[in-house]
C-alpha cells in the first residue's frame, strides 16, 4: 500500500470516529426522556436533511456533472412516485437511478 493513501485513510477514519465516540461519551449522562435528548434528536434530523439537500443541490463527485435541472427533476418525480406508491421506498429509489442516467443525456 502506498504510504500516502494509507495515512489518508487512517486520518479520515480518525476524523470520523471522533464524532461517533464523543457522541457515545455524551450519551452516558443523557436520559431519553430529557429535553436535551429531544433537542439532539431535532439536530440529528436537521443535519441529515441539510446534508442530503446539499448533496443534491451542490454535489461533489460524478453528480456535479449532471445539470441542476435534471437533478431537481429526478428528486421531484421520485417524491411523486413515493407518494403514489403509498410511501414505498424501493420504487422511487430504483426509478431515480434509471431516470438520472437517462435524463443526463437530454438536459
Amino acid at each position: 500500500m502506498s504510504i500516502n493513501i494509507l495515512l489518508s485513510i487512517i486520518v479520515t477514519s480518525l476524523a470520523t470516529y471522533v464524532s461517533r465516540f464523543l457522541g457515545v461519551l455524551s450519551s452516558v449522562r443523557i436520559k431519553e426522556t430529557s429535553k436535551l435528548f429531544r433537542w439532539f434528536n431535532c439536530l440529528a434530523y436537521a443535519t441529515l436533511a441539510a446534508l442530503i439537500a446539499r448533496t443534491i443541490i451542490f454535489p461533489v463527485g460524478v453528480l456535479s456533472e449532471a445539470s441542476y435541472l435534471s437533478r431537481v427533476l429526478v428528486v421531484l418525480l421520485s417524491l411523486g412516485i413515493f407518494f403514489i406508491s403509498r410511501k414505498n421506498f424501493v420504487y422511487p429509489t430504483i426509478f431515480s437511478a434509471i431516470s438520472m442516467a437517462f435524463l443526463n443525456n437530454y438536459f
Partner: protein, 234 residues
C-alpha cells in the same frame, strides 16, 4: 458477550423489502469505482470502507487526495462533513444505555453509526427490550457494514464497465432513498420541522460557507424546530 438471537434479528432487518441495503450497496459500488479511478488498490479500497464507513467522508478524502491536500486539511475537512455523526450518536445511544451491558459494546459499535443503520434502529428500537437494544444494534450495524464492504469490492472490479451515466444513476440513488426515508419519518411536528428547515437552511448556508453549511444549517434548523415543537406541546 453479544446475544446471538438479538444480533441475528438485527442482522436480518436489512433483508426487509424496504431495507436500505440496495441504496447503500449501490452507493458503495460507486465509491469502489471512484477509489479505483483515483489510484487505490483493492486492499486500500476495502480498508478504507471498513475503517471510515461514512460516505461523505470517503468522498471528501478522495477529492482531497486528488488535489494533493495535506493530512491536517483532510482531517479538518472530514471532521466538518462528518460532525453530523455526533448528534446522531447522542440521539440514539441514550435509547440503548443499560447498566448491565459492558461499555466496550458501546465504544466499538458506535463505528456503525451511519444514516442507514441509524434510521433502521430509530424505527425499530421500541420493539426491543432496553437491555437488549445494543445487541440488536450491533446486528444492524454489522449487516449494513458488510453490505458496504462487499459493494466496495464489487464497485472496484466493475469500474471498467461502468460509464458516466451509470455512475450518476448510482450516485443519485442514495440521496433519493434517504429523502424518502426522512419524508416518511415526518410524523411528529419536531421531526417534520427539523427535516424541512434543515433541507432549506443547509443549502442556504452553503452560500456563506461551504464547509460550515451542514453544521450551521443543522444547528439552526434543529434548534428552531425544537423550540416550536416544545411550545406546541406545552
Amino acid at each position: 458477550m453479544v446475544k446471538k438471537e438479538l444480533f441475528f434479528r438485527g442482522y436480518k432487518s436489512i433483508l426487509k423489502s424496504d431495507s436500505p441495503a440496495i441504496a447503500l450497496g449501490c452507493c458503495f459500488i460507486a465509491i469502489g469505482a471512484l477509489l479505483k479511478n483515483i489510484g487505490f488498490n483493492i486492499q486500500e479500497s476495502i480498508f478504507s470502507t471498513m475503517l471510515i464507513y461514512a460516505l461523505p467522508g470517503s468522498l471528501v478524502m478522495a477529492e482531497s487526495i486528488l488535489v494533493g491536500a495535506s493530512l491536517i486539511s483532510i482531517f479538518i475537512a472530514v471532521w466538518f462533513v462528518n460532525a453530523r455523526l455526533y448528534p446522531m450518536a447522542v440521539s440514539l445511544f441514550p435509547l440503548m444505555m443499560d447498566e448491565g451491558q459492558p461499555k466496550w459494546k458501546y465504544y466499538l459499535s458506535c463505528h456503525f453509526i451511519a444514516v442507514s443503520a441509524w434510521l433502521i434502529m430509530k424505527s425499530n428500537y421500541e420493539k426491543i427490550d432496553k437491555k437488549d437494544r445494543v445487541d440488536f444494534w450491533i446486528g444492524i450495524g454489522s449487516a449494513t457494514w458488510s453490505v458496504a464492504v462487499i459493494s466496495t469490492i464489487i464497485g472496484f472490479y466493475l469500474s471498467d464497465y461502468l460509464n458516466k451515466d451509470m455512475l450518476m444513476g448510482l450516485a443519485i440513488l442514495n440521496p433519493i432513498y434517504f429523502t424518502c426515508m426522512m419524508v416518511g419519518a415526518m410524523k411528529k411536528i419536531q421531526v417534520a420541522l427539523s427535516v424541512t428547515l434543515g433541507a432549506i437552511l443547509g443549502p442556504v448556508f452553503y452560500f456563506f460557507s461551504p464547509e460550515w453549511s451542514i453544521l450551521l444549517g443543522g444547528i439552526f434548523a434543529g434548534s428552531f424546530a425544537y423550540l416550536i415543537g416544545e411550545k406546541n406541546v406545552n
